[in-house]
Symmetry: D2
Subunit: 337 residues, 4 copies
């Protein structure tokens, strides 16, 4: 249930309501829009407490919510959520490009790549220190050593850092080094991990699972938000279909659908989505044209030597060319890079 307050509600009125909400066993989530303040009363059967709030003078109206995701919904928050990472704003006019190698490997190489993507206009460096691999016999990532390489690259370039936490244990560690915590597609319904990052202060980039409906995707975001962390960035990275000419089917339909249902920013990962280098550029342009708030692109100086996902990585020089083209498309749809 959402309580929309009358204009001019004071801080103490707000506090009074929130206390009341908690007293009767629910959680209160506040959304302060430009015009209205909305309080989400969250918990099973919250609607049964409707009477209590209906009688309050300052409550303008009450909205029962049938959608299973509440805090992630446009009903709860009309305005787009903007997430600020050291001055980089995700969800506003600027399209934020995150780039880097699939896995963090050698430190020097990482710094070299970081410098090149920064020069090309990327704002965030991506790279996995912990790698989820389908086979137990594949390279599993450098662990904390990889995180330190990322921190070094950040220091040298000023880029923000994003890297994945695969387990609850890793959350603390990733939080320490990274500006954004990535939750991978395989963990989209690892609910305890979602709750754990829900308690973090750091923004979370949540990747859609390969068989996750958009409704379920928003419910996984809700898990994070229900713990108080509202800084969730959604990321589409390909769904599994019958078509085998690309590794996955990058679902760009998700962009307008999510924009309609939710206020959270959405970014696109065409590298994992297609698994083919040649398709990254056209689908990156398409993503921006469709309204994405950002891109996540794999870049590697020596794709043929990469320990993970080489065939889909762009060379720095190709990434640089792509960024120039993306700027034009962004401009054409009223955005910028």
């Amino acid at each position: 249930m959402f309580l929309t307050l009358k204009k001019g509600a004071t801080r103490s009125q707000l506090d009074y309501i929130c206390k009341k909400v908690r007293k009767i066993g629910f959680r209160a989530h506040i959304s302060r829009g430009a015009k209205k303040t909305v309080i989400g009363v969250i918990g099973e059967n919250a609607i049964l407490a409707r009477d209590i709030f209906e009688s309050m003078e300052i409550v303008e109206f009450i909205t029962p919510i049938s959608k299973p995701y509440k805090l992630a919904s446009r009903e709860f928050k009309k305005e787009n959520t903007v997430i600020n990472i050291n001055g980089i704003k995700i969800g506003e006019k600027q399209i934020v490009v995150m780039a880097g190698p699939c896995a963090v490997e050698k430190k020097d190489l990482l710094i070299k790549i970081a410098r090149e993507i920064k020069k090309a206009g990327a704002k965030v460096l991506r790279g996995g220190a912990f790698k989820p691999r389908t086979s137990p016999y594949s390279f599993q990532g450098l662990g904390e050593k990889g995180l330190k390489h990322l921190a070094a690259a950040k220091k040298m370039t000023g880029l923000a850092i994003i890297t994945e936490a695969m387990t609850i244990d890793q959350v603390k560690l990733v939080e320490k080094y990274s500006d954004i915590i990535q939750i991978g597609a395989r963990n989209i319904q690892n609910f305890d991990l979602l709750k754990a990052v829900g308690k973090s202060k750091k923004p979370v980039l949540l990747k859609r699972g390969i068989a996750t409906t958009i409704k379920e995707f928003l419910m996984s975001a809700e898990y994070i938000m229900s713990q108080g962390n509202y800084k969730v960035i959604l990321c589409e990275r390909g769904i599994r279909t019958f078509e085998q000419s690309t590794r996955f089917t990058l679902d760009l339909n998700a962009i307008p659908v999510i924009k309609k249902l939710s206020h959270l920013p959405i970014i696109i990962d065409p590298s994992h989505g297609t698994g083919v280098r040649d398709y990254v550029a056209p689908l990156s342009k398409a993503a921006i044209a469709a309204g994405a708030d950002g891109l996540m692109i794999e870049v590697h100086s020596k794709p043929e030597e990469a320990l993970s996902d080489g065939p889909q990585s762009l060379l720095p020089k190709d990434f640089c060319l792509l960024m120039e083209e993306l700027k034009k498309v962004a401009y054409a749809v009223g955005r910028e890079i």
Copy 2:
């Protein structure tokens, strides 16, 4: 098997080879590129006749083809195929927009819509006279009367016409009135119908089936081309996946994949692909950014009264606004509308 001829091959040399090909039981298809002429020798086990051609002075080299589609492949023809319809060129710099109602209904309404889409910049009027409907109790189209309405609209506006032929019988009729023959998604593997339009002189727009792989899509194009009609326009209109928030999942990955594998033009139908009016604009822009050669968009003045697919039709005024936005995106990727 493809025979690539040496530069300067004469007409009579070409004829000689083609005669030879037919004499030994195969079909000869000629692709004259800017630099090279390639002869496709088509038929089962054509490669066994390799020796015969290898000894010919004018044959530069022979390429065995393992792909099941041959005439539709980039190997057969390096340059993009450009299809000329009364001066409208599909497959070149210009992006061709086809628009109109799902089904042809009243004549006056059709002409009104035709005028509006023409003003907005569309080049081709779409509208179904024969309607494939999942339920036998739904509106099935006006038949030849609908074709006559389309012809009237063409006369009034100068727009080219595209409409669907659902059966072999209808091909003759559609051919008579329409500039492009559309083959619907449900007929993607109606091989006798494909052969029938393969014998037509009119260009064919072939819609991908909802569970058709891109490889199968190109093989269906091959059916048409194998009969001598090389004027095939491919059209992606959504595939069936687990996701239910859109009617189908419009597969924009298909654009770069097809551009890589084939020389045929590819256009996108976001109206049927998503089934939701609000998603048509963002996905139209995305399609152009990804490299599509055209769009097919449903436009209806009174969507609420449409006998078929109203909820996905744009109003003429919204179509007009969209065209303005599309021009900017086209320009950003070096194309024009």
Copy 3:
């Protein structure tokens, strides 16, 4: 709308109502059950004529039907439909096995296979004279010559015949030779073809398309039934999913779902469904255990020489062993072969 008549309704009362139905522009379909007679009043907005029938003494009650398939639904007909083909009953206690080669090739070989499957207990000989092939360069079937081979095999063995009609033109020809007309998966929404076989007196076996929902499957059956041919046998033959270890995913869930929604018999084709010989036996047993009314199995004496789908065909001796095993499973679930 369905009109359920009171017990003891006479022939002339029935005729009177049917005349009335036609007079006001609808079609009347009669289902005589053991206890009740139901008249389906079919046509768009039939329900608006409710008043006319409500006032009739002999009409016990009226059921508005919201499902898009009406004649195919359990609401229209409570009892299972039983289809009688020269004494072979499909939809009763006996499980009917249809077997034979994918495509009809040599006459002698066909007769040999027919004798062997008959000995093993099959009741119907299958074999394609017209072959829908994904590539235009593959073997396309013998045409009428193939139908004559089938007729010869029927004469020699007494087996009933089933073969596919791919086009409206072929329906007449197939009807002449075959006891059951097969409509292939690719033609599941070839609505004109469905209507054409709906006018035939011969039973129709309708194969589910690879991306056809069960609801759409029943609507395609409805197309046939709406023309007066109620003898429709449904056939599940695999749907397209992400899993690639079988050619398609044979969907045995369809058996109980269809049994719940419809009165029509359902048979299973594990040969096309999996595309792998070794999986035919376990899935045939599973189909019977789940309640299927029959099986369609590919059998070929020399699978390695088959012009179509050799890798999934059973050898006659393996088919014979399988039939012995199937008898036990059938018995275990109260059926027989």
Copy 4:
């Protein structure tokens, strides 16, 4: 790489080889078959050490393994794996039925259900103490209290217990109370959790993810086995497809496919697979007919009061009837319950 030893290899010869394997940086896994002993040499590029073992007298031959799953493959172990749980053998002639409520709720109710399923012939009691729920606002399970209820039910009935561990933390706890550790479909690629249960001495039931290919499924089993726990039971519980008339599409094709590729036992969960009570019985019979080694079925005395998945639970009396029918089907395929 697999080393197949000559007949009569002694214990000390075996030890010598295993020491050698570890010394050069790989892991040794031993499979003692009835006739041959095979040593799996596991690790990236193990094949490069081929020369070392080829020169050993006792090594009969060496098999390089290209499949990404090695220990789970039929190549590694010809004989079916049989897992013994307090005398209940999974993977042999007997089909093991696991039954119980989706979530553990009240203790008395659980014991009542346990007694009823035991009487009907079930061998294992299932019930979730930790519940993965798509919405953060749904019932999340009783936690350790639920485990204690399961232990009480075990004490009263002698049934073995299976329950899910959702996180690494829970593994220790679940291990303490449960005879089998269940890994849920959502955790199929939670690789750290797989490794954690790979170090347990308890058997693990691994549920296939809704978009997991069979190859990936076996690789997830490999993660567990690579840590030394070979007691892995595979469980198919429905995949996500376009069909929406069942909650998932139960994939019975997986049974023969897995039997061909792997030696591990496979059981089927038709309750979660279909999500519809009426479909559980026919698909249970089908699973047994197709060769499944067991079933997992939801049973609840008051499905309408269940806090989770009530609509798919059988009543104890219906479960009892089903077990009688299953016995007949099992007998028909040479198995028993």
